[in-house]
């Protein structure tokens, strides 16, 4: 396999992974914008999406699209529950309390899934059967296409939501300035709940398209970590930044693993994270000024 072909393969893998990271990063960003909280359980939303979908498909024998949709709704509900029960009581607490609460939630989700579903991988069939696609000499599974397509559609839908609907615009207002939003009659608490629900839903979408590869109770941890690396890289508090960050991280990670060493693949993401935090904490795409760090 020639070098150029290998490069192409890495790029394709990277962009696909990037799509996933972008979705998860978006989840982080949405919650952060409305609550100033980093949600450590974001990766668990991904895991729950896959687990619910698998159960709906394999046990309730629903079709793939229906399982997918219902699972997204279910995880959104879980996200909302999480906000109401665990985050809301701590809204005036210290940063450490809030962080520990989301960490606790993450552990709780993992423990519950482990208890109910066991420790084995759960699967759904690949969305379309057939041979992997070839693009020049790079080979990729059909599921990769699904991942990209669904990721892009989700981002598009989200964009429309923010731009065109009242709720979306209200959320944008909320994240820009809470007090002013309250003055014009926006119910901040509703916005917060909505953001958790949305964020969880996005996580579940990512989980759903990843489900064919197999997920188990602790699969969410790595996704969560990579996802917020991506969010920081792109600029926390910035939707477009989150998406760009996701793709950038995905590609850089693949190239690093392929060209340098696969051993340090995970460390690479965190090195990038640290570099961004120390040099340009606002992230790559930060446009407006905000809190000085």
């Amino acid at each position: 396999m020639k070098f150029a072909d290998q490069l192409l393969q890495y790029l394709i893998n990277g962009i696909t992974n990037g799509g996933i990271y972008a979705l998860i990063a978006l989840g982080f960003t949405i919650i952060y914008k409305s609550t100033d909280i980093i949600n450590f359980a974001q990766g668990e939303f991904v895991m729950l999406g896959a687990v619910f979908m698998s159960t709906l498909y394999n046990r309730a024998h629903l079709s793939l699209p229906v399982s997918f949709g219902l699972s997204v709704l279910a995880v959104a509900a879980v996200g909302i529950l999480m906000e109401v029960l665990m985050i809301h009581p701590l809204r005036d607490g210290s940063v450490i309390s809030q962080i520990m609460a989301t960490i606790g939630a993450s552990i709780l989700f993992r423990g519950s899934v482990m208890l109910i579903w066991g420790r084995n991988d759960l699967f759904v069939p690949f969305f379309s059967c057939g041979q992997p696609y070839r693009f020049f000499s790079a080979i990729f599974d059909r599921q990769y296409v699904w991942i990209l397509v669904i990721a892009l559609i989700s981002m598009g839908v989200l964009h429309l939501f923010y731009e065109k609907t009242t709720h979306g615009k209200a959320m944008t207002a909320c994240s820009a300035n809470k007090k002013a939003s309250m003055l014009v009659g926006i119910n901040v608490q509703t916005m917060v709940i909505l953001s958790f629900g949305l964020s969880a839903a996005l996580g579940a979408v990512a989980g759903g398209v990843l489900a064919p590869f197999g997920m188990k109770y602790d699969s969410g941890v790595t996704f969560g970590l990579k996802g917020f690396c991506a969010a920081i890289v792109g600029g926390l508090g910035n939707n477009v930044g989150a998406m760009v960050g996701g793709f950038v991280l995905g590609v850089v990670e693949e190239l690093g693993a392929g060209l340098i060493s696969s051993n340090y693949k995970n460390a690479l993401s965190f090195c990038i994270l640290l570099a961004v935090l120390l040099i340009r904490p606002q992230g790559i795409l930060f446009i407006r000024s905000g809190e000085r760090v």
Binding site: R119, D121, S262, N263
Partner: protein, 387 residues
């Protein structure tokens, strides 16, 4: 300061918690009669496909022994701790078994990493340990208190390389999982391949937690390797097998005896087709001639296991069967004298087990020779005997 005073209450609280702690264990007083054997396996972590049949087998053997009247009239009791492949937990469990449960011997752990980790603790505590893991370094150089039942990774690697040499394969790629077992494999392939005239042109590592290994496989595709060896247990190997299929790679794939369970075939599905690996005779016992010394033992074990657990028996359960039976025979001769138990284990000769026929000695604490392995190919989701 209020806080400082409050600390005395803190001490009281700690005493209460400690009290609860003491009560819980003090009331589980042991009588002198039962013979206790400790078992540490992974039934919930990365190696659960290994530990689960190991635990099940151990429990089945204990039940059979007790039904037949125990060991010289003493009931046999198994004290089990799940390590979840966590080396610290393994060490803690050994300490617990020795200090709290006062067992006579310990069988397990399931993985090479854990077995290496507990060696120091076992030697320090002077308790016999029969490990169910593969790495040759566990018993080479021999340690006074440590034995093992599976064939060594060195033996398995030699078997694979020997087979490859016959096929005329000269260049290979090697993929190993992070951890003790994978590292052991890498050491062995580098050490043995020159002897068989084979060159290792690529070495890649992966982690069981990775979602896919296409990066590493892509790199391998860029080399002129004629075959690939993947050294990992079932979960990771299944993922790699699936990736190999996705990438449409056609070179022959060889794996370790770590995939010698139905779990691998269940997870890999069509991707398992054509994979070749070395394992003990248990997997293909019905193809064996009746003159084979192991056939009777294998058939009985397979039947008993299937009857009790409704699952196909595999070599991992077999390792536990061998370990436990060796310990039981030692206790039969030595009673509850731990030092003598160890000596009796070391004196084991011609023990027909599941892994092979065991012969221990002062210098040899792994007991099996290369003839205990056969090459197996997965065809149509079943194990078929190659040679």
């Amino acid at each position: 300061m209020g806080r400082k005073k409050g600390k005395l209450f803190g001490i009281l609280v700690m005493c209460v918690v400690s009290g609860l702690f003491l009560v819980q264990t003090a009331f589980s007083a042991e009588s002198k009669k039962p013979y206790k054997i400790g078992a540490i396996f992974d039934i919930s972590g990365k190696a659960s496909a290994l530990g689960t049949p190991e635990k099940q087998t151990a429990e089945m053997v204990v039940e059979q022994v007790n039904k037949a009247g125990g060991i010289n009239g003493h009931p046999l009791e198994l004290v089990f701790y799940d390590t979840a492949s966590d080396t610290q937990k393994a060490i803690e469990s050994v300490n617990k078994l020795v200090k709290k449960d006062k067992v006579l011997a310990i069988i397990g752990p399931s993985t090479s990493g854990e077995s290496m980790a507990i060696i120091e603790t076992i030697q320090n505590n002077e308790i016999p340990n029969i490990s169910c893991a593969a790495r040759i370094e566990i018993t080479d150089p021999p340690k006074k208190w440590v034995f093992k039942t599976p064939q060594t990774d060195r033996q398995a690697m030699a078997k694979i390389l020997g087979y490859m040499k016959k096929q005329g394969i000269k260049k290979i790629a090697f993929m190993s999982v992070e951890g003790g077992f994978g590292s052991g494999g890498l050491v062995q392939v580098d050490s043995l391949s020159p002897e068989f005239g084979i060159e290792v042109v690529a070495r890649e590592k992966f982690s069981e937690d990775d979602t896919n290994m296409t990066t590493q496989l892509t790199k391998i595709r860029g080399t002129d390797a004629q075959a690939l060896i993947v050294w990992c247990t079932d979960k990771g190997s299944a993922k790699v097998a699936a990736n190999i299929r996705q990438l449409g790679m056609t070179i022959p794939i060889f794996m370790s005896h770590g995939i010698a369970s139905m779990k691998f075939i269940e997870q890999a599905k069509e991707a398992a087709e054509g994979i070749i690996f070395p394992a003990g005779r248990l997997l293909v016992f019905d193809s064996l001639p009746d003159t084979d010394p192991q056939k009777k033992v294998l058939a009985k074990y397979a039947a008993d296991f299937k009857a009790k657990y409704n699952t196909t028996a595999d070599t991992f359960g077999g390792h536990a069967w061998d370990a436990l039976n060796i310990v039981i025979r030692a206790i039969e001769k030595a009673g509850d004298d731990i030092n003598r138990i160890r000596d009796e284990i070391e004196k084991t000769k011609n023990f027909v087990g599941i892994g092979g026929v065991f012969n221990f000695s002062e210098k040899d604490h792994h007991g099996l020779g290369p003839e205990s392995l056969v090459m197996i190919k997965i065809v149509n989701g079943k194990w078929t005997y190659l040679e």
